[in-house]
Amino acid sequence: MAKIGVFICHCGENIGAKVDCTKLAAAMGEHPGVAVSVEYKYFCSDPGQESVKRAIRDNNLTGVVVAACSPRMHEATFRKACAEAGLNPYLCEIANIREQCSWVHTDSDQATEKAMDITRSMVEKVKRNNKLQPIEVPVTRRALVIGGGIAGIQAALDIANAGQEVVLVEREPTLGGHMAQLSETFPTLDCSQCIMTPRMVEAAQHPKIRLLTYAEIESVDGYIGNFSVRVRMKSRYVDIDKCTGCGDCITKCPAKKISSEFDCGLGKRTAIYTPFAQSVPNIPVIDKANCIYFKNGKCKICAKTCQCDAINFDMEDTFEDLEIGAIVVATGFQVQNNTMYGEYGYGKYPDVINGLQFERLASASGPTAGKILRPSDGVEPQTVVFIQCAGSRDPSKGVRYCSKICCMYTAKHAMLYSHKVHGGKTHIFYMDIRAAGKGYDEFSRRAIEDDEAAYLRGRVSKVWQENGKLMVRGVDTLLGRPVEIAADMVVLATAIIAQPDAKEFAKTIGIGYDEYGFYNEAHLKLRPVESSTAGVFLAGACQSPKDIPDSVAQASATASKVLALFSKDMLEREPVVATNNEATCAGCWGCVLACPYNAIEQKDILDRSGKVIKRVASVNPGLCQGCGTCVTFCRSNSLDLAGFTEKQIFAEVMGL
């Protein structure tokens, strides 16, 4: 006989103000099989959980329904409480009467009625719940870090320094990511290269880190603790083992006028190249699209120059198959293309540049060796206008969100400019100055007070060229008047956006993403570095726009998650797996084909003499992920899914 306890949580006012919890408790108390039905202000609180435990013990409950917030919120909490009271945790279910009831309905009676249906349905389900035991699976103690920017490097180093193996995969020819492109960093103005390159070298030389550059993730299969990852090693046309990185080939390469991606188009590179002088590994790649040999079949000057015979034009992509226990995704961001703002003239006027391009101009290793010079004529600009939120916080043309770092880097740009060009004038059009962070507000004040950055609160409507000047027309909303500035250079604080292939990539690894392509965390506040897929963690700007301190902090957080995972020999997995009734299975194997995880095998049932008397399907619980696709396919109703059994769902529907 079922003895179900129903615990109705008010969640303070969140549920209690809309749903008549007293009425709900009374109605559930009348329901067949319900032994206890009580309400309380906060069941998730310590005394709340204690009262659930006491009720389980005092009444010998056979099942528990907590009518409260979403199971995605507190299912784990209450299942743990049940286990502590001696009740199998899988005999506890959550009736979601907050997110899917009290918060979304206006009429109190209707909300109460719906809450009753939801709770009753759950009571009927829980009556048919089975005691389940977690499944233990082994853990491969090797982490994969995808992305070799600062976040990826930090995560890799932290994991490796704790003694665990790491494979660090970067799709560009070198580590470094966006941080390597930056000049100086706010709020301390230390040189980005100076703090970045040692970390790159450390990662490359670390005995526990295997570095795969110019490589991309081809496929990811498996599950937490047991991923199989295939990596495509793109052909560099340079033998990484033979090359010494002397750079002779680069000097001799006749194709010299290729726009440098690393310099954001402000500098040139050769066809065989390293993105920048401090590249790690310092091994060039041949850019097939621009190589004279690949285009015309003649040249091979690099091969002739190379003393080590490292150039190989016949090289083809190869694949590496990796066994991985945990994955850190640190794939970073891109900056938005500003040509969508036709009125700002980006792409039309060479002296309208974006923030990342300004970084290259200000960088000592950049195309101008750190001098701020106009791209059009190489002259030092005397007046520079910065336009903030060029794409961010603009639902009509750009993106709705704040890119977070632009206020700070624009203040930094103004500062760097005034340090480099004495007497130069800066004007900054802004919407708000968002300078929250340690030392950030002080930094932006310094730009204004010490370096005379002129902040104008308002938007720019148009930029045009007139008499060799860039005319910037905007509005100063604090003074309430239009402004026109004749500038020599305009810098747009471009929005940070997700990588263009972020969504496709998310599908490859099987994680969620938001409407912009930033990766979804399991819980914004409480599980910010975990993805919704167990064993896959998120670091850096692939999750949302971030500055360097935040990216590094998040990367270290993922490392701690990975290390916690690797601290166990066996992992416990939710026992939501399919099982097959071999007595009724017809052996049609449709399930074998339908299973996304190859978790169903064909099994022979033998008689005593070893003769096959029957062939049936058999589910490998280690591989099964519990989607239930096989169950739905099964015509003879032989397959079933623990936790979501046919009986349970039938009862849920009939209990409504």
Binding site: S70, R72, W103, S121, A594
Partner: protein, 151 residues
């Protein structure tokens, strides 16, 4: 039911936990408001949603049924939703041929990020089913099950 009262349809929804259920939660945390007519049954994946569930929802007296899960390519289980889509395609044709109007069984893809789409979907489906009115033909069948079989 008096004619003056508007008909309030009963709708049962079967959703996957990773996308649509999470989207419904998001609608909640965003405090969006939508019609209270839908009761949700949470499943791990759309691949788990059996045509039998739809029949049982109708037997339970639902005037409409909703099915929703992750967008193609977004399935947490990589391709449960692709399998589901085929089944629905076939089952939908079957229901139509038997005379169960396809308008009463609605399908959608709603992601964890689409709280707004969820709320709008619930509202529009509730309105559509309200316009269709109660599923009287099916109610008759259900009533017959309670009466002794006629000779």
């Amino acid at each position: 039911m008096p004619m003056s009262e508007t008909f309030e349809p009963e709708i049962i929804a079967f959703v996957c936990t990773y996308c649509t259920y999470a989207g419904a939660d998001l609608a909640g945390t965003s405090r969006l408001k939508y019609a209270p007519n839908v009761r949700i049954i949470r499943l791990p994946c759309t691949g788990r949603i059996s045509p039998m569930f739809i029949l049982k929802a109708l037997q339970k007296g639902a005037d409409g049924v909703l099915i929703s899960g992750c967008h193609p390519g977004d399935c947490h289980f990589t391709h449960g939703n692709y399998h589901a889509r085929r089944r629905w395609m076939v089952f939908r044709a079957l229901l139509d041929f038997i005379g169960i109007p396809p308008e009463r069984v609605k399908y959608s893809w709603i992601s964890a990020a689409e709280g707004v789409k969820f709320a709008e979907f619930i509202n529009s489906v509730t309105e559509d089913i309200r316009k269709l009115g109660p599923f009287e033909q099916y109610s008759q069948l259900i009533e017959q099950t309670q009466a002794p079989a006629s000779l």
